[in-house]
């Protein structure tokens, strides 16, 4: 038969969690959480809030003599601007695989780094590139055009001068 009478607790009996252990664990936990928070705070620093790269919007003046369907690459930009029968459009020249700059080839574009090939409309025809070259938003502004590299538009979008 089980003993049911509760033994009167004494100040000298061992506690389930010793007082000093509790204080020790609590202070250790507070130190670890403080260090964790500090660590997260420090990791926040390297993630830049403002990117130092040049503006992604720029204006282009197409040369009068630009033949239909041949690219005009504004100096310092990895974008080709074309004029065809239906209007003007801009296409990114940055390969969607690993960011090399594609070159125009007889049957479209080719990437020098890993051999991706793109059709003249930017769609992938060979190699590792996962996506087509995006067409970029272009708007007419007087006799110039404004290209926004950050906004892509459907491949058949054209603007009129």
């Amino acid at each position: 038969m089980r003993q049911t009478t509760a033994t009167p607790s004494s100040r000298l009996d061992p506690e389930p969690v010793a007082r000093r252990d509790f204080l020790g664990i609590a202070s250790l936990a507070s130190m670890l959480s403080a260090m964790l928070l500090a660590g997260i705070g420090m990791l926040r620093l390297p993630k830049a809030a403002v990117l130092p790269s040049a503006s992604k919007k720029f204006s282009v003046q197409l040369p009068e003599s630009l033949p239909l369907g041949s690219p005009y690459v504004p100096p310092g930009r990895n974008v080709a601007v074309f004029r065809d029968a239906k209007g003007v459009y801009a296409m990114s020249l940055v390969c969607t695989h690993l960011g090399c700059i594609v070159k125009q080839a007889p049957d479209g574009f080719e990437c020098p780094c890993h051999g991706s090939r793109f059709a003249p409309d930017g769609s992938v025809s060979k190699g590792p590139a996962p996506k087509s070259l995006p067409c970029l938003r272009i708007t007419a502004a007087g006799d110039k055009f404004i290209v926004d590299e950050e906004v892509s538009v459907p491949a058949d979008t054209r603007v009129q001068a």
């Binding site: 993630k47 830049a48 790269s53 695989h97 690993l98 780094c113 590792p128 996962p130």
Partner: protein, 517 residues
């Protein structure tokens, strides 16, 4: 005694102490005296903060040159050479776009001995990568990762990754065409988890790839922010990290009972002489460490110091020998070939072909099918797989012997034949017939991410290795097959990427066949 004579003797004592001061400074620094007896040789090691990472006594098996081939020490030596030459280069190097290129040019053409020092830095870095890899191969084939050395194998994996990181971050610093485009590709590989998140349509919510790239570059293009970040990683963060890991790695060797050796190493060295009595005849559960005999479950429990020799001079002289040979090789290579420096980085025109450093060209070959699988997925699987080896192979048969375990040398040879054959077959197929995108241009990217030469190779190796586990009824045999296949795959892909890939990553038998452009 008169005042006069007392001051005389104090003065004499002052001058005597002054003449003895250099000797006493030396004795204060090195308390144990000249290492001429076994006792002072012990003190020489454990009284020295640097040397005490080593054991006081070394087993004679560890000193046979076929045990390690000196590869670990050669890695360390190459690191030390790169450290010294790297600090020297920092006198002139300026981490800012274009200025960086000019400062490297100054180092190359104007700074006294600059070209030589830069060559040594470049060669020692390459040598370090090679030695670290060979050291891992050695540790694997002698089963040196087995218990109680599992943790040190993991530290070794960390050292391999940091070594590659050090080498890769150094690649950008010259700011030439080679550097710029290798880092552009590298940063986009860091971004390649997008290939997966795009395919699943969750990039707008979870963009791991974009975050990695932005943290690495500090921008969305390779520019001044990227250069200073790579510089910081190269000269500060990674060297500190590798220093800590190296200290742990060396100290753990001692704590894990020295280098791994076969169970019958003592008999194979020589039979015990009749006048030598073992310290422990009953192999009690106690350990002979330094001078104390304590209970414990460290690997030295129950082992006496038989067949060990003092580390000073036997181990240290061997290490210094490897250091000298490594230095000699670096100097010879630096005299023979200059570190390359191409034209100034041009963000508008990629280098063609744009090749990563040689040890990444195997991955670049895989990346030319799928950026995510080749650049992130398969390397992660490889590192995790390597790390798991000691926890899956819990056997003891053949520890410490080259190609020990069921199957042995013959199994390694057959696995190499299988690995070489499979890798070559898939590469030949992919080079000859192309891959899925060429046959079905509109197939979803996810299909190619999952089915590409890299994943097929990994699956082939894994299947072969599982068959070996069954065939030999041994996890070690499976590990041997998998590791050997992976090494063969690495070698084949690296050789193809280095020698047989040209402009547009096309296949060419020789650079002489490259089209002019």
């Amino acid at each position: 005694m008169s005042d006069q004579s007392r001051s005389d003797s104090a003065l004499r004592k002052f001058f005597t102490d002054l003449t003895r001061a250099p000797r006493r400074i030396y004795e204060a620094a090195f308390r144990s005296g000249a290492p001429v007896t076994d006792r002072t040789r012990s003190g020489f090691v454990f009284n020295n903060v640097f040397l005490h990472l080593h054991p006081v006594r070394t087993h004679r098996w560890s000193l046979r040159w076929t045990t390690t081939l000196g590869l670990g020490m050669a890695s360390t030596a190459a690191f030390l050479i790169a450290l010294v030459t790297g600090v020297l280069l920092m006198f002139y190097y300026k981490p800012y776009p274009d200025v960086a290129y000019n400062s490297i040019k100054d180092i190359h053409f104007v700074v006294p001995t600059g070209r030589f020092i830069r060559n040594i830095h470049r060669w020692s870095a390459n040598l370090m990568v090679l030695m670290v890899m060979l050291h891992m191969v050695r540790a694997f084939y002698t089963s040196a990762y087995r218990t109680p050395r599992e943790f040190n194998w993991l530290v070794g994996m960390g050292l391999l990754v940091v070594t590659l990181g050090l080498s890769f971050t150094g690649y950008l610093l010259p700011w030439d065409q080679l550097a710029y485009w290798a880092i552009t590709i590298g940063a986009n590989i860091a971004q390649s988890p997008r290939e997966l998140t795009d395919a699943l349509g969750v990039t707008s919510v979870v963009d791991v790839g974009g975050l990695q790239r932005q943290l690495l570059l500090g921008s969305d293009t390779v520019g001044e922010e990227a250069l200073i970040r790579f510089y910081l990683l190269h000269v500060m963060i990674l060297p500190l990290l590798i220093g800590v890991l190296m200290a742990v790695h060396f100290w753990r060797i001692r704590k894990d009972g020295g280098l791994t050796r076969p169970a019958d190493a003592d008999e194979r060295l020589e039979p015990r002489r009749p006048d030598v009595y073992p310290v422990f005849t009953e192999a009690p559960q106690k350990t002979y460490q330094l001078a104390a005999i304590v209970r414990g479950r460290s690997s030295a429990v129950g082992r006496g110091p038989e067949n060990t020799v003092p580390s000073m001079p036997h181990l240290f002289y061997a290490e210094l020998g490897v250091l000298m040979v490594t230095t000699l090789v670096c100097l010879a290579l630096s005299l023979a070939a200059d570190a390359p420096l191409k034209e100034l980085a041009n963000p508008g025109v990629p280098e063609n072909p744009a090749k990563a450093p040689w040890y990444f060209l195997g991955l670049q070959e895989l990346v030319s099918y799928s950026a995510f699988m080749g650049g992130v997925g398969l390397p992660a699987i490889a590192v995790i797989g390597l790390g798991l080896i000691p926890f899956l192979d819990r056997e003891q048969l053949g520890s410490g012997a080259w190609f020990g375990g069921p199957g042995g040398r013959w199994l390694a040879f057959r696995s190499a034949a299988f690995g070489l054959g499979l890798t070559l077959a898939i590469e030949v197929f992919a080079i000859r017939f192309g891959w899925i995108r060429e046959w079905y241009p509109h197939v979803p990217q996810l299909v190619i991410t999952v089915i590409n030469p890299g994943t097929i190779l990994a699956l082939g190796y894994a299947a072969y290795s599982l068959w070996l586990v069954k065939r030999y009824n041994s996890a070690r045999s499976g590990a041997m097959g998998l590791f050997t296949c992976a090494m063969c795959g690495f070698v084949v892909l690296t050789v193809i990427g280095t020698y047989f890939r040209g402009p547009n990553w096309g296949f060419f038998w020789s650079p002489a066949d490259w089209p002019t452009h």
